[in-house]
């Protein structure tokens, strides 16, 4: 939006470059992108490749001990990239999982990128589904495509996108393969050009009636909340943090926030 204001032939002139007002500086929208993923999927490598920063990477699970942040610019828009700790799930069994989950739930990033290992897609999808329960603005980054090819594993990312309802991009962050496409997809999901409608696994049979009872109640209480079903899951399981958020009004604030951001961006497709 702001970027187009400055789109003129003289934008390549060095003088213009030094005088141009960065969107950040005039309170222009800066988008937040969260980077989630299992440990050892090359998440830090993706982070470094996108931001040009040098987080330490290594052939170790759990190398990223604390959260890192960086920026990248695409088409004149700045994106803030937050590297979440690597986790296998978001069921909050450890501090790392809690940090990752709270960043996605309460931090409300404009887009969440889940980095998955192309050679172990099945195990990695578990996390993708859990993220999709919380937010529908998801891009799946199928990393280590080179390694997968070497092992004779072929991932059809188009088919994968169709199956899960959010875009999937194949990358090999170590060589830079697919990163341009990844950035384009992130931008597209944020500005609504690429619609997302996550296809979530049905709730467990044994608990279907419980979920069906709770979800309308949650929707009635927080009309703007997008992830009523996930909240229902958490409440049935007895998740301490979510119970607390419910009682303290944090969830209500979250719901109001989401209603506002929806009305502020009328172009966005609202998933049924």
């Amino acid at each position: 939006m702001i970027g187009t204001l400055f789109h003129s032939p003289c934008r390549d002139c060095p003088l213009h470059q030094s005088y141009v007002v960065h969107p950040d500086d005039i309170g222009g929208r800066q988008y937040t992108v969260a980077l989630a993923g299992n440990p050892n999927t090359g998440k830090s490598t993706v982070f470094n490749a996108l931001t040009g920063l040098r987080q330490h990477t290594g052939n170790w699970p759990g190398k990223t001990v604390s959260r890192a942040e960086g920026r990248f610019v695409h088409d004149g828009t700045t994106y803030r990239l937050v590297d979440l700790p690597g986790t296998y799930s978001l069921l909050s069994a450890s501090t790392d999982e809690e940090i990752a989950r709270d960043s996605i739930l309460f931090g409300q990033p404009d887009c969440t990128v889940v980095v998955v290992d192309a050679t172990a897609l099945e195990r990695n999808l578990n996390l993708v589904f859990q993220v999709m329960e919380i937010t529908d603005k998801v891009v799946v980054c199928v990393n280590l495509m080179d390694e997968a090819r070497r092992k004779g594993i072929e991932v059809n990312t188009d088919q994968l996108s169709k199956e899960i309802g959010v875009p999937a991009v194949g990358t090999a962050a170590r060589t830079g393969e697919g990163l341009r496409e990844l950035v384009r997809t992130i931008a597209g999901v944020i500005d609504g050009r690429i619609p997302t409608s996550p296809k979530l696994p049905a709730p467990p049979m044994a608990a279907k009636s419980l979920v069906d009872e709770l979800v309308p109640k949650i929707r009635a209480l927080f009309p703007g909340l997008r992830n009523a079903r996930w909240i229902a899951y958490r409440l049935i399981e007895g998740d301490y943090r979510i119970r607390q958020a419910l009682m303290s009004g944090e969830l209500a604030a979250l719901a109001r926030n989401e209603t506002e951001s929806l009305s502020a961006q009328p172009l966005e497709t609202v998933p049924g």
């Binding site: 050892n40 170790w60 001990v65 099945e122 594993i153 899960i164 044994a206 608990a207 007895g238």
Partner: protein, 495 residues
């Protein structure tokens, strides 16, 4: 006013919702619900993968799975691991002798490289290599008419300290670190954690402690910082307090030097294949003993001051990667070897000067050094060492790297000048009363004693507790003294 009533209504309905959810949970059970939920996720993942992933026969016949079937085999895993490390140590023990002799000749032996050239190359050294830097420096100071105290302090103190560190420490480091970095880069270290996981669980500690232990091989301070990957504070403290029981960069060369120079030659003829095997076995034995101590102390801690159940975790085995040779060389030689050598030199230079002063300043006809190690002698004997070695350990608190060089310098200053030759170091030690017991005790003490200054400081920074820091320093020291005293009395019993 209406705002607050709305808020109150919201709160009331939230409480109602919560009550209903709790009632529903009674029906199914939170645990079971989670299991069912995860099961649906995995079922769906399976369907998705069936639609979007195709597997062809891999292009390479040796896949990670095949390799892991052997390296993480329930029975074979640990022996294969021990064999792998044994090979690394053996190469180090065998390879370090020759460069050590050349460096000692170049830097400090009378006659320079004459002897190493004759012994290893079978030719006479050129004339300009027939005197060592040490001799040249003395000649230079003589020409400059420097007073004896100055040349003594600078050349016999500071310079000799540095020369000892370089000729004794550099060769084993320059061989061991590239090999270790190679294993690390290949992705082998997490497999070690996998193999040892059940042992740590039995000890009431976290399986990831095996990973932090592997980091400790590089540097205990780094190992203590790596304990951050363990979430549970209880298990993290256990990992921090026991990290010192794996020998670090700074202590490995000491172990390797003593093992190859002394243990090996005390059992077999020096320089033979059998001697190298004995030296390797000694190093492997000490490392295994360190791991056993780690497990035992973890077990004690988790049943006393740090009681609790081990928590579960997922350990993913990363794919094996072809290491990049340049990166391995850079990491091992610049990041590790040069770093450790630099640290050792920074401590060794002033230590050399201090040792010279202690050896040459007299109080009542005896040098300060001899008074101090004379005082420490009875206690040293009790634990199989001697006063000089104990004094060396005290001087080396800032950096464990300089224990051997310091001890050697103290011996050399005991009045009798001994012909210094790399290959004859063992003879120097024998001359000063070393026995097999002394060598074994020194290796054990080096393995178990208090962490170096940097590590102690790091323990404080990570725990922010004086109590745990004091325990982290004195618990290993006590264990070292007890174990060495036990070994010494057993050895004397059977003599």
């Amino acid at each position: 006013m209406s705002d607050s009533t709305a808020a109150m209504r919201e709160k009331a309905s939230a409480a109602e919702l919560l009550q209903r959810a709790d009632a529903l949970r009674e029906r199914i059970g939170g645990e079971r619900f989670r299991d069912e939920l995860v099961a649906t996720l995995y079922r769906r993942a399976e369907e998705v993968v069936a639609q979007s992933v195709r597997r062809r026969r891999p292009r390479v016949w040796l896949t990670d799975e095949t390799i892991d079937r052997i390296l993480t085999h329930p029975v074979l895993g640990i022996p294969v691991m021990a064999a792998l490390f044994a090979v690394v140590f053996w190469i180090t023990v065998v390879g370090a002798n020759v460069p050590s002799a050349f460096l000692a000749g170049l830097l400090m032996t009378d006659g320079g490289l004459t002897e190493p050239f004759r012994e290893y190359l079978g030719i006479d050294a050129p004339v300009w290599l027939a005197s060592s830097v040490y001799q040249l420096l003395h000649a230079l100071f003589a020409v400059l008419r420097a007073p004896p105290w100055l040349s003594g302090f600078i050349v016999d103190g500071v310079y000799l300290g540095l020369a000892w560190v370089i000729s004794v420490m550099l060769p084993p480091m320059a061989i061991f670190f590239p090999l270790f970095t190679l294993l690390e880069d290949l992705g082998y270290l997490p497999r070690v954690a996998f193999n040892l996981d059940w042992l740590f669980k039995r000890a009431g500690a976290h399986g990831k402690q095996a990973l932090t232990m592997m980091m400790g091989f590089g540097c205990n301070a780094a190992g203590v910082i790596a304990c951050r990957v363990i979430d549970s504070p209880r298990e993290r403290l256990i990992a921090i307090l026991t990290n010192v029981f794996v020998p670090c960069n700074g202590r490995f060369p000491t172990l390797i030097t003593v093992a190859s120079l002394f243990v090996a030659s005390a059992v077999a003829r020096p320089g033979t294949f059998v001697a190298s095997l004995v030296g390797t076995a000694a190093v492997v034995g000490v490392v295994v003993f360190g791991v056993i101590t780690t497990l035992f102390v973890s077990w004690i801690l988790s049943r006393t001051v740090l009681r609790g159940e081990p928590s579960a975790f997922i350990l993913e085995l990363p794919p094996y990667r072809r290491p990049s040779l340049l990166r391995v060389l850079y990491t091992s030689l610049i990041d590790r070897t040069a770093f450790v050598l630099y640290r050792a030199c920074v401590v060794a230079a002033p230590a050399g000067g201090i040792i010279w002063l202690m050896a040459n300043l007299n109080i009542g006809g005896a040098s300060i050094a001899s008074l101090v190690y004379g005082f420490l002698e009875p206690f040293g004997r009790l634990i199989g060492l001697d006063g000089v070695i104990l004094l060396a350990f005290i001087i080396a608190i800032p950096a464990n790297e300089i224990v051997m060089p310091t001890a050697l310098m103290l011996y050399m200053n005991q009045g009798r000048m001994v012909e210094l030759q790399g290959a004859l170091l063992g003879a120097v030690l024998t001359d000063h009363g070393w026995t097999l017991l002394t060598a074994v005790s020194l290796m054990l003490f080096s393995l178990l004693h208090n962490p170096c200054g940097t590590t102690i400081w790091t323990i404080w920074r990570e725990t922010r507790s004086i109590r745990w820091t004091v325990l982290g320093a004195f618990m290993p020291l006590t264990i070292a003294i007890l174990v060495c005293a036990m070994v010494a009395s057993l050895a004397r019993l059977f003599q």
